[in-house]
Amino acid sequence: MLATRVFDVTNESLEQDFEKLFHEHYPLIYRTAFSVTGIAQDAEDVVQTIFLRLYRRRELSILRKNPKAYLYRAAVNEAVSVVRLRRRHILTDDMAQLDRPVAANPLPEASLREEFLKAVSGLSASAVEILILRYEHHYSDAEIAKLLGTSRSAIAVRLFRARARLKRFMEKKS
């Protein structure tokens, strides 16, 4: 249709900027999503969701300031909500399977892993944000502070609290 073509021309540079942005930040975003969800399919869905949302909202101008921080935060929030949603579904699935015989002993390593993921997704998004930067991306306090726009000391405090909360969470479970 003629009208569509007219609009395409004006959108071309926007789309080029957008794909450049995608390629630049994709690895960080994907790995973040995978670390929180632990499932490749979920990680892909998270990446797709946040980039599409970004495009639809036409926030590219805001992004020019600090696209990495925006995308990273969006990925953490989305991934955490995916895990929380999943947990709710699994819970209802479990209810349906109550009558079935249960496997005698689930693999201890696998169940510990599961517990850990649950504990992480139970933390606040701002805590998850810091923990993933530290333990998956191996950022220093200074690098984390720079990305999130706060001071190093504030990051040290938040990191300490996040770790402590996670620890308490896991001790309570076991």
Partner: protein, 156 residues
């Protein structure tokens, strides 16, 4: 410090970490899904724009030459036999939207240069505006034929 090292161990052991091959294998698959999503949202965005009833009638009212807002309002009421009526507030909202989209433009000509109010500003279709009007008219016409084929309305 002991506490830290212990937590480092826990994270090293339990935090899922995607190996580089996995990250790269998904890159193009995800980008293509994003591209598809963009194409789909562009269609709906333009569809919504094209479907805006009032905007379409303003373009139609400007088909026969430039008009000022008041003339647009009466032309639309006439074209639709009163079914669509603009108030002064809504007509300027639509006009501003059409100006921003580049479908209409202001003309320099004023009937009386001493009178400088908004109501007397003249507007005309741009080249893009003419093409969008034509494309949207075709789309509406094809929909009409489709609807008649389905026998959902009384014969004309």
């Amino acid at each position: 410090m002991m506490h830290d090292r212990k937590m480092d161990e826990v994270f090293g052991r339990f935090l899922p970490s995607a190996p580089p091959e996995q990250v790269e294998a998904a890159r193009w698959r995800v980008l293509n899904r994003v591209r598809d999503g963009i194409a789909a949202s562009r269609e709906t965005a333009e569809g919504a724009f094209a479907l805006n009833h009032g905007d379409y009638h303003i373009l139609l009212a400007l088909e026969n030459g430039e008009r000022h807002a008041y003339a647009i309002m009466s032309a639309v009421a006439e074209l639709t036999e009163g079914a669509t009526r603009f108030g002064p507030g809504t007509v300027f909202t639509s006009i501003r939207r059409l100006l921003t989209a580049g479908l209409i433009e202001e003309t320099e000509q004023r009937p009386d240069s001493r009178i400088n109010d908004e109501m007397r500003q003249h507007y005309r279709l741009t080249g893009v505006g003419q093409r969008v009007l034509a494309a949207e008219s075709e789309r509406l016409a094809s929909r009409l034929f489709h609807v008649r084929d389905q026998h959902v309305m009384r014969p004309l």
